[in-house]
Point group: C2
Chain length 199, copies 2
């Protein structure tokens, strides 16, 4: 016997992070009982996003366009480039600080055991970008975890080899924490007191 | 400037119960980064469910078919009818107890202030069903809240007027609680020790 549409929906909702069977069931009932239009809109938006949201070819952040709004903006300072691990980190910095430079989104961090090396993080693209000569400071905003620090070290070398000054967010971001969850005040302070990275 | 598809997706996800902006953002990033196929499947299932899941014309529970699988099953005892407020309550009883009778889903409870009266709960359909003469016991499993108790009282009168014996779940279900959240053991016990309702 095939599963009913309701059962299929409950199962499909579990693809969402942090949603177990019980939550999925509540969500399905809620949509069917009270939010059919919202559910239809979610279905349509989800389908469009899964198909059409790709990556900016300049910064690798999510973007529908070939080049994202930030990379395409003439108002941003092209001499500053901030490297983050994820789109959520980029958003956190954009919302918490007054930063007006550009970004580069790794979509991960160096993790040899998981097979994630420089190629997977687009570091060839980043190296080429630094080679172009416009970037003066590379703000390395990877997370203060073991892998994030190793990635930061690698990025600093990459920058120095091309005459670009690497800097790192000031302490204030709790060690072992995830940037995405740091409160705005702390993040803003840490961003403002970033220091040049020493060899 | 129109919102990006990513922003639209984050906004659309907030239709889900208990999902605020931050959770919606995490969900959107998670799907885009790691679950494109799961996201597509969710979109398709959601669309199909919103369009095609209706109500069983016998019991008012959610169903794609005109008559749901439980109502259509020849293995169920047609002399027992259990009335619940919501599909989630029906599922909780089905999973926690050995009940083999049929159900009737009110999709709500009497709440005159909200304009929910007997018609909104399909009580004409229920009265007609009791009139048919097959049902011998009406198990009233509305929630033990003020409105649930008032609904139970109304249902008991409806049953007695048609020569059907009304019963109510035994105490054990915490007062003021929601059936859906009661642990299986308690619910199973309460269901087993249901007692006839007195006038
Ligand atoms: Zn970009
Ligand atoms: Zn049914």
């Amino acid at each position: 016997m095939t599963a009913s549409l309701l059962e299929q929906l409950i199962d499909a909702l579990r693809v969402l992070p942090g949603v177990g069977h019980k939550s999925a069931q509540r969500m399905a009932y809620h949509l069917l009982e009270r939010q059919r239009d919202g559910g239809r809109r979610l279905a349509a938006t989800l389908e469009a996003a899964m198909e059409r949201v790709g990556h900016c070819r300049r910064c690798r952040d999510f973007s529908e366009a070939e080049v994202c709004a930030i990379c395409a903006s003439p108002a941003r300072d092209i001499h500053l480039l901030c490297v983050v691990e994820t789109p959520a980190d980029r958003l956190a910095i954009e919302q918490a600080t007054g930063y007006r430079g550009l970004y580069f989104v790794l979509q991960g961090r160096l993790s040899p055991l998981d097979g994630i090396g420089p190629a997977e993080l687009g570091l060839d693209l980043l190296a080429q970008r630094l080679q172009e000569g416009e970037v003066r400071e590379l703000i390395v905003a990877t997370n203060p975890t073991v892998e994030g620090e190793a990635t930061a070290h690698y990025l600093a070398q990459l920058a120095r080899a091309r005459g670009v000054r690497p800097s790192r967010l000031a302490h204030g971001v709790p060690l072992g924490g995830e940037l995405e969850y740091v409160d705005r005040g702390t993040l803003s302070h840490a961003f403002g007191s970033r220091s040049e990275m020493q060899e």
